[in-house]
């Protein structure tokens, strides 16, 4: 699932992948953005590393209101995505914007969350092509 608003403002799949996999060494992000991405990564995987020193680093880039906004947003997502995973449901729309069944969505996106650049987009186009052929036949 992707934010339509973020995509309209220029967010691409390449930048999403960069922000997840290579943000530390990336030149695509500012120091503030890197600190926010690290905050998110640590909250999920190593919350014990988020200490006074880390918050002092965040304060160089963000106000306390922005830090609280980020922290609560990250915590909310840490909590909910694990719950959603157990419900075994998939986006209603394919990456190319078609309304698809849950079965087709599962085929397109796969059962493990990975980059859209690693198959989901190609599978969505292939599924659409197959359905078009079946419709024509």
């Amino acid at each position: 699932m992707r934010s339509a608003s973020a995509k309209r403002n220029g967010l691409t799949e390449e930048l999403i992948d960069e922000g997840i996999d290579h943000y530390r060494e990336s030149t695509a992000f500012t120091e503030a953005e890197k600190a926010a991405l690290e905050y998110s990564e640590l909250m999920q995987f190593s919350p014990e590393k988020i200490d006074h020193a880390f918050y002092d680093r965040l304060r160089k880039h963000f106000t306390e209101a922005e830090i609280v906004e980020l922290g609560a947003f990250i915590g909310f997502n840490v909590g909910y995505h694990t719950f959603f995973r157990t419900l075994d449901f998939y986006p209603m729309f394919s990456p190319d914007g078609r309304l698809v069944s849950q079965e087709e969505s599962a085929r397109i996106y796969g059962t493990r969350p990975v980059s859209h650049l690693h198959g989901a987009l190609a599978r969505a186009v292939a599924e659409a092509g197959q359905q078009s052929e079946e419709g024509a036949g």
Binding site: M43, E48, A72, V78, G79, F84, T86
Partner: protein, 182 residues
């Protein structure tokens, strides 16, 4: 110092429209005022999140005492001393005690004081952030023998929201504003 991010002043929080939320804090005890006053740096977040947490924990159709045991079990999983040490005045008033709270974080599967429904709910929260891969179709089918789908969503939503905020509060290195039973 109370926490890494200092809470906003109480008067400022009231001025931002958080008076009702602070009233619930006083009445229920979970959370105390510290949490909404930290979130109060972003007032819209404070109101929405605190209200959702109250709805999930104190309202609905699942026994509040059971949800209080689950909430504390989750906070211990999250290593969050703030939420783990808060107690719901309503649950305590209805008979929940520390022995039963501890039992819910212990060997609850073999504890005869819990019903089969309560054991399923405690297993649901226990597994959610330890072994979520074990919460599958069969697990939910077992849950439906004890709870309606609405109750299961109520439990799942409460677990997700409270755990998420416990993870955040852990990083604040905060504790409750008051000692036990004060």
């Amino acid at each position: 110092m109370m926490s890494i991010i200092e809470p906003i002043d109480r008067d400022v929080a009231v001025g931002q429209g958080l008076g009702d939320i602070l009233g619930i804090c006083e009445e229920l005890g979970v959370s105390d005022e510290l949490f909404p006053r930290i979130l109060g740096h972003a007032p819209g977040y404070a109101e929405a999140i605190c209200d959702a947490m109250y709805q999930a924990h104190a309202l609905g159709n699942v026994d509040h005492k059971l949800k209080e045991i689950i909430r504390i079990q989750l906070a211990r999983t999250a290593h969050d001393p703030y939420f783990a040490n808060l107690r719901s005045k309503r649950a305590i008033g209805a008979g929940l005690d520390e022995d039963r709270i501890d039992a819910g974080s212990g060997d609850f599967e073999n504890d005869p004081q819990f019903s089969a429904a309560e054991k399923w709910a405690l297993r649901y929260s226990y597994l959610m952030y330890r072994q979520p891969e074990k919460i599958d179709q069969a697990f939910y089918d077992e849950g439906k023998e004890h709870f309606t789908e609405a109750q299961i969503m109520e439990l799942g939503g409460m677990i997700a929201l409270h755990y998420g905020m416990q993870v955040f509060m852990r990083t604040m290195q905060a504790g409750p504003m008051r000692g036990p039973q004060s």
